[in-house]
Amino acid sequence: MAMAIDGAKFELDFSSYSSTTTTTTTTPATSTENDHGCNWNDWSPMVDWEALSGAQDDFQDLIDSMMDDGALMNQSIRLTVPDTSNSMSTSDTLVVDEETSCSDDLKGLRLVHLLMAAAEALTGLNKNRDLARVILVRLKELVSPNDGTNMERLAAYFTDALQGLLEGSRSIHSNKHLSATNNGPYHHHHRDDPQHHQNDVLAAFQLLQDMSPYVKFGHFTANQAILEAVADDRRIHIVDYDIMEGIQWASLMQALVSRKDGPPTPHLRITALSRGGSGRRSIGTVQETGRRLVAFAASIGQPFSFHQCRLVSDETFRPSALKLVRGEALVMNCMLQLPHFSYRAPDSVASFLSGAKTLNPRLTAMVEEEVGPIGDGGFVSRFMDSLHHYSAFYDSLEAGFPMQGRARALVERVFLGPRIAGSLARIYSARGEEGCSWGERLAAVGFQPIKISFANHCQAKLLLGLFNDGYRVEELASNRLVLGWKSRRLLSASIWTSPSDPDL
């Protein structure tokens, strides 16, 4: 992707990238213009470019965009000190300020193209592991998860995720294996001490909560719907798929306690699903959460009791394991949005939802990430969609808090990075399967929508109003609110009830 000043050289360079076997050594003496460290002169022609020529259309677009870049790059390049340093940061500091934003965009664009090429190489028509590896190596040199622009940091995590896929697919190809390695080199230092990991998570969670409406949107929308559904009940039982720290329930309890007219404060019972092993969903952690919730409930005068429901090792939810009480209003709560690490076990979620159906709950709340258009369903298109998705996340955080780079980096490291890796892993292994949302699946198995009330919608808008202007909420269906950033839909909160089938 060397940017040649000389127009005539364009052809040569890019044709080498796309179809002919000439290597890139024919670039002019452009050592002075190693576009930000991507010095293709140093690459030995180990790659058989011809073999890659399958998807020529993609590369044509790539070429076109690069050619456009070339004109702009000229100006910025002239300003760089003509040394052959390969580090991104050096060139960064040398570029004059007014060029920065456009060169940032260019860099970003280039990264996107590289990522797309890597994804394509990994799974496209002409799969080529080696090429993918090469591209990833190059990417790794260009990006870092802690510095640089949004796109650069994002690309770092995507690179990491792709790397994981590359390595994972070489060994035993299993979902679980992938998710175990999904954290990559950026995260391993957290594995040793769960307590510190926990605190990191907590700090990052707090930051995420304050910097964006993602967490609250899901919690509050679900809570409001729950409140409305159980307005006249004396006993409420909530089954929470992934309780984490139980933060969602603090506000629900407060709302229950302060109901003015109507019945006295109902008794609230929460059953949290827990899993074996260590980590955030382990029995110990869930128990701790339970203790805190009990203490909080006591402090505000909410009658409360807490239970756990242990999932067996395959994380399948079995409704029979629940203790139910007659006369209680049953609510199933399924939060899959950002801080929840839901990507690990889609089967588990599926079992939760099908279990929910048999239990005939009053209400089922589902909050999940909104998927974009799947396109042809192939890995690359979903990969790109995922890239756009998380890029919107990053942008939204930055727009709100442009100066708090370190805080955002923490949030990215703790939540977004693993999530990216996990979701890519899921896409990779689910290639070809239709990926509809959980909401759609609920509808498909017979859940009935519950209308989002005016108050609920109003609350969502108010909530977003506290944050940046770029957020918006849409009511895409009578029972579904979608939170979006600019033009990208990010989170979907939907409310369902069981079909009132007397045979159930």
Partner: protein, 356 residues
Amino acid sequence: MFHTKKPSTMNSHDRPMCVQGDSGLVLTTDPKPRLRWTVELHERFVDAVTQLGGPDKATPKTIMRVMGVKGLTLYHLKSHLQKFRLGKQPLKDFSDHSIKDASALDLQRSAASSSGMMSRSMNEMQMEVQRRLHEQLEVQRHLQLRTEAQGKYIQSLLEKACQTLAGDQNLASGSYKGLGNQGIPGMGAMKEFGSLNFPAFQDLNIYGGDQLDLQHNMDRPSLDGFMANNDNICLGKKRPSPYDGSGKSPLIWPDDLRLQDLGSGPACLEPQDDPFKGDQIQMAPPSMDRGTDLDSISDMYEMKPALQGDGLDEKKFEASAKLKRPSPRRSPLAAERMSPMINTGAMPQGRNSPFG
């Protein structure tokens, strides 16, 4: 079938009363006699329209012929048909509209075109609007309380975590250094992002106050009052204003995030910096000046005009007695913003608002 009755003359009352004329039509007795579209009359109308092939095919003339009601003029039918065409949703669908759409005009339209609502008077629609506003205020209040509760809970979590870490650290290294990683990433992360000693309430107040002075000319007193309501729970969240060019985050975190603010500042329903946010502002340009403590929440309460704003202003005045538009420059003090109910009606919770 309308049966003719002797018209009962009514003296003019405060509200427009209805008389039944010879033709069985119900007319109002206000200075401008207006036809009252009763349920029966409307049903006949709908019948006629259906016979004629729908509201798009039917014309006032043909409807008049088909209905055969004396005293019904083309003028009546024209306007009624237009309303009917524009929206045949019943009023209850109002709840589906987003808040932005809940302009008084929309209400009138949706009400006017609904069969069941035809007989409602303007008063009832006013009541509906105000009911909605009240509901929105409730929502706002609840949102704040819930956010506070959440903040309280998180605070307890953080305290617990801090204690745990402190305990670990004492055990491990024996020296309790405030900053720096010391190989304990968790603690480091938290320390890095600010002290965990949740600050005195006053500190936060000042902090917030400075911040807002910078951007909103907001009076301290109102802010203090607001903060006082909220104890020391909060989000510490202030809305940044990417559009006004200040660029920096209103949180003014010295270098980076300060956890203390996150845990315990007041729950701020901050004014929005950019009042001229798109079309929400069309309704009331005079009110949306900078320098007033405009609330993003108030934007929610703005009725977005479905149509042009000019005609709308008049309708606003009709719709709500309380809707007096004071001078465009309004003081930031909360109390003064109470009067224009529809416009920015929502008093942000806690801002010295009688809605408390």
